[in-house]
């Protein structure tokens, strides 16, 4: 850094940076996006490999024989489920006991903050049933979990059947070193949340549950099983959990290794692996797969029952059987053998899974991008903010250079500072926009009843529409109140404010990207250009339009359409709008039910930060 301590060279460098600021920013943005798109290109990514020695070298034999019987058990379960129209608790308890498990139940109830229209539930009451297979001569210190949700309708009965079949088969084996907990959870994620909170005796979301009677020590790993139809053509691995957390990559490796060994078609994001990476279609396939993962991770919601385990430092994944109408069929015995193999290897674990990566993206099941590779893409975007901040800093520090005398110069600077608006002109917009953010966070839930009384809408619609209303109202707020407090807004004023906002955004996005890269990156993609170009001197109407387009809410809207596009289920604008509304309500629900942090992050931090830029645009 001799470079910086030499005033001449420093001046030269700063001159260069300020003179070429705009082109450098543009180049950085392009480079960031290009880098990100390059991540899906196979030669740039690493092949997955098993890092955990305890699971790598030991060979296990899969002998699970009774897939047919498991399917029959599944049918029996379906019949009992239909009979009691819900979770057949008694039947499950009896069946599990007959298989030699220690069986316990847990009751829970939860009233949602507002009705969930997607799943049609409001007051949720349910019972989880779980059976513990006690490992012989193990002191109840470690456990593995296999769960299958009991969903309404005909879904997932096979999964429960297979779970019971596996329980019976596992019970007769001598080699278990960890207890295995077979859990059938009611009301999918809510039941899982209740069970996990009960197991760890925490209460983060204000749910009512009865305490658990039996435990198996610290849970080392968990798999959740979902079989959507009788006919399964391929097995899909779901990794994205709450707040974008991912399980250790070794769990994915384990799944992939056994699929290869047994010869099951395996997919991630519902996409098969392709070998033609050098063709355009092959590359776009990989991009699609990776983008799907990015979108899902950015949403911060658990994409399967496994997602809630991750909070408790339990590596977990959901395995879904999908019927994609291919020729290839996978029967229940094969799926059972797949799970048996995975559990036997997990049983061999001496330590928790920790050897492999926790931060990664997967453009295909056999390739991954580690944090070291994808972070530069975000870094290139974030550096734009710093460059703009530097530019502003220099502009603020060097008023028109009229004198050559150093002392006079310093005095002038001091003068400039004293003439510049004080703390108030920066603080006022900051406070106002954060209050708006707080309103966005609180009002939708608080005012739903009032909204329902006065407008012909349902509770859910009321919440979502209130949220949108508060969001829009934020734009119309009189942002120039600082003038009342500290006089006319000055050139210096908006520069200081923008400097603060830029640094704020940089810190905010940086922290977000560290925890949830996808969310940070998507937000950076839209917010960084907005933050970079905004000044009070650009054409107002056009800029306002661009700024709104680049606001978090519109980012979400585009993401919804983009996600549908990626899933090859494009929607019309109207459907997309409805989907958008339901996504907002789901996001709010996720926060209140499972503690997802995306909604508070957007409402309390990102949106106010964006409002600051909006404020600058209309600076007077």
């Amino acid at each position: 850094m001799g470079l910086l301590s030499d005033p001449n060279r420093r001046r030269a460098l700063i001159n260069l940076l300020t003179r070429l600021n705009a082109p450098i920013c543009v180049v950085c943005y392009m480079a960031g996006v290009a880098w990100f798109m390059g991540l899906a290109f196979e030669p740039f990514t690493l092949r997955t490999y098993m890092s955990e020695n305890a699971m790598g070298s030991t060979m296990v034999e899969e002998r699970f024989p009774s897939g047919e019987r498991a399917v029959a058990t599944g049918r029996e379960f379906a019949a009992h489920k239909k009979k009691v129209s819900g979770m057949p608790v008694e039947w499950l308890v009896k069946t599990m006991q007959a298989r030699g498990l220690e069986v316990y139940t847990q009751r829970f109830s939860r009233t949602l903050p507002f009705p969930d229209e997607n799943k049609e539930r409001y007051m949720v009451k349910g019972t989880n049933v779980y059976g513990i297979l006690r490992a012989p001569r193990a002191p109840r210190t470690e456990a593995l979990v296999l769960s299958a949700p009991c969903t309404p309708g005909d879904n997932n009965n096979q999964a429960v059947g297979l779970l019971l079949g596996l329980a019976q088969y596992f019970r007769n084996q001598i080699y278990w070193a960890k207890d295995i907990i077979f859990l059938v959870n009611d009301h999918d994620l809510i039941g899982m949340q209740a069970w996990l909170e009960g197991y760890h005796h925490t209460n983060t979301t204000g749910m009512d549950w009865s305490p658990l009677q039996g435990r198996g020590g610290s849970i080392q790993a968990a798999l959740s099983l979902e079989l959507s139809s009788d006919v399964v053509t391929s097995m899909d691995l779901v990794l994205e959990g709450l707040n974008g957390q991912l399980p250790n990559l070794d769990l994915a490796n384990l799944f992939y290794a056994f699929c290869q060994k047994i010869g099951v078609l395996c997919t991630i994001q519902g996409k098969l692996q392709r070998n033609d990476w050098d063709s355009v279609s092959g590359y776009s396939h990989a991009v699609q797969t990776m983008m799907l993962m990015v979108m899902k991770q950015a949403s911060g919601r658990p994409w399967g029952d496994h997602g809630l385990f991750l909070r408790y430092h339990i590596e977990a994944a959901t395995i879904k059987g999908i019927n994609s109408f291919r020729q290839y069929k996978t029967d229940a015995t094969t799926i059972g053998r797949l799970l048996e193999g995975m559990y036997r290897k997990l049983n061999n674990l001496l330590e928790r899974l920790h050897q492999s990566y926790f931060f990664y993206l997967m453009p295909s099941l056999s390739h991954f991008v580690s944090i070291g590779y994808y972070m530069p893409a975000f870094g290139l975007l974030a550096v734009i903010l710093l460059l703009r901040a530097l530019d502003l800093w220099v502009q603020l520090a060097t008023p028109p250079p009229t004198t050559e005398d150093g002392i006079a110069d310093i005095e002038q600077v001091r003068h400039a500072h004293s003439s510049s608006p004080g703390v108030l002109s920066v603080l006022t917009p900051l406070v106002i926009s954060h209050l708006t953010g707080a309103a966005l966070y609180m009002l939708p839930i608080r005012f739903q009843e009032m909204a329902v009384e006065h407008f012909p809408v349902s509770e859910t619609e009321a919440v979502v529409l209130t949220a949108i209303a508060v969001y829009t109202a934020g734009l119309a707020l009189p942002h120039n109140t600082h003038r009342l407090l500290s006089g006319e807004g000055t050139e210096q004023g908006w520069r200081v404010l923008k400097l603060v906002a830029l640094l704020y955004l940089a810190v905010l996005l940086g922290c977000t990207a560290l925890i949830n890269f996808s969310l940070g990156f998507i937000l950076a993609l839209t917010l960084v250009p907005a933050a970079a170009f905004v000044t009070p001197h650009v054409p107002k109407v056009l800029s306002a339009f661009v700024l709104v387009i680049l606001s978090p809410a519109c980012t979400l809207l585009f993401s919804v359409f983009f996600f549908q596009e990626l899933q090859e289920m494009p929607v019309s604008f109207l459907d997309g709008w409805l989907l958008y509304l339901s996504v907002i309500s789901q996001g709010i629900l996720d926060h209140f039910l499972y503690g997802s942090l995306v909604y508070p992050l957007i409402a309390l931090l990102v949106y106010p930060c964006w409002l600051l830029f909006w404020n600058i645009l209309f600076w007077k």
């Binding site: 910086l4 006690r134 001569r137 002191p139 109840r140 210190t141 760890h200 020590g217 610290s218 408790y312």
Partner: protein, 641 residues
Amino acid sequence: MAAHRCCFPVWLFILCSFSLFIIAGSQETTVAPEQHASVLDNPQTAAETAEQTAGESGGVEERRWEGTEVRDAAAQKQAEPAVLQPTPQPKDDFQEELVVRPLHSGDIYASFQFRTLWETDFMRGNKVSHYRLFPKSLGQVISKFSVRELHISFTQGYWRTMQWGQPYLPSPPGAELWVWFQDSVTDVDATWKELTNVLSGIFCASLNFIDSTNTVQPSASFKPLGIGNVTDHRFLRYATLPREIVCTENLTPWKKLLPCGSKAGLAVLLKSEKLFHSSFHSQAVHIRPVCQDWQCKTTSWELRQTLNVVFDLHNSGQGKREWSLFKMFSRTLTEACPLASSSKIYIDITDNPEGEQFELSPATSLLSQAMVLGDRRTFSVYDLTQQDTFGSVRSLNLLIRWKSTEGDMLRPLLHAERYVAGYGLQTGEIHTLMYNHHPYRSFPVLLLDSVPWYLRLYIHTLTVTSKGKDNKPSYIHYQPSKDRVRPHLLEMLVQLPPNSVTEVTVQFERALLKWTEYTPDPNHGFYVGSSVISSLVPSTVAMDTNSTRERPLFSSFFPCKEESSYFVRVYTEPLLVNLPTPDFSMPYNVICLTCTVVAVGYGSLYNLLTRSFQIEEPSPGLAKRIANVIRKMRGFPGTMG
């Protein structure tokens, strides 16, 4: 003969390796197996011992101890059916027994007990050098370390109280050792340290990992079980190693302590390939002083070796609910240990008085009743010292065949469980739940918790609640931990209300260890030993005042005193707690990163901050420059700007 043997130690070696006994002339020799072991170590002394034995037991009537496999020709000549009579010698005595309890879950519980009583005095400088039935290795330990009482157990698995009821001898998972020293010991800690190392060698276990960080001195939970009224807990040491894995290498030295080894008697059943194919395995050694007779004029030393094992119905490979000695142990019995004064098998048939639950064959008419764990139990007894027990096939293979799966177990009155609550790697909460299933009677329990120092207990968060109300313990003994020196010790006397769950919670913070203190597998987690709950539980017989069982009216009004309560010790499961663990594969990266940050970031910032900047004059005059040079030469730093 003796001289002859001394001359040929090599021959002795061969003898020993074939497990032979020499009977020559009128001189009878009895060699206990542990002497075999010592023979292997030092033939010279062993020969002397054998000599002494021979000298002392000369004149005692003829006894024989049959080798199971190989037989010497010389011995063959004298082979006679074993004559098994109780030794008239009063000095020492050996008994063996096996209790089999069919459990309601279909599993089966087998409990072996071997008891050696010896009327001797290890203390007061009395040099005991002659050993017959009592293992010499343990005798030496007792005398060298002035041990008054020693209890050691090795357990693999967790006793499932709710499925199996109470065990005859409870033990926590892993290894447990508690020792009362004589009050003559001056430096208890040093003696304890040495003792654990010696025991570690004797039992091939990692007892040498017992040090001050896992040793506690309970003030009330572990009272001496033998005679003696010294209860100063300065002489008590208690330690558990929850991580200790028990396997064949621990079983073999344990079996060697038996007078008959595993060659005869009940011990032939102790084959490791079956014992470790079970749901629960626990072996223990208890040494204590007991009264010789009811007047207690003389004391003797009791060595009790116990082995408990539970076989799993489901893992046995067959769907049939059927148990036999052969199926359990892959051996049948052919004889009692010839050195044993009593050798019996008890089958618990309390729940099966008319044979409706299971069928027992061969049938026996011998019945026995005993008060076990507050319940009056009935047992079928098979006396192995009686020849007719073995029947015509000369082998006893007990068979239990279940007839019905009905019937439920009496719920154990006291049971406990423990778990860690919370998430994240900073704090947590230990929950201990104690269940009192007695319908109307409350009883006090003593809870002992020993928590390693790296879980820093916040003792102010300690709460005891039962039935939603605060339950104030009547006695609390808490010794805070010292980092890297000693663990937390928490003892409480809590009254458990009838039919209730009492929950004890205490929060803790996970300490960050020094990097050398982590185990080789830090991501496995760190173990916290079981809590110990000791209690006098109201007996089920006393609970029975409503005469659910047929009893004479005159006997059932007042519950009789000695049956009114019984002692139970319950162990909770150990805990596995994850501590914040650095990524040990990263030191290189960390070093690189830190150095870079320090060198580039901090260095240059510091440089920028401390350097004083001055405006350079375009070109000072010649005179000034010269003046500056002169000043520098004279020692005034800096320039005149």
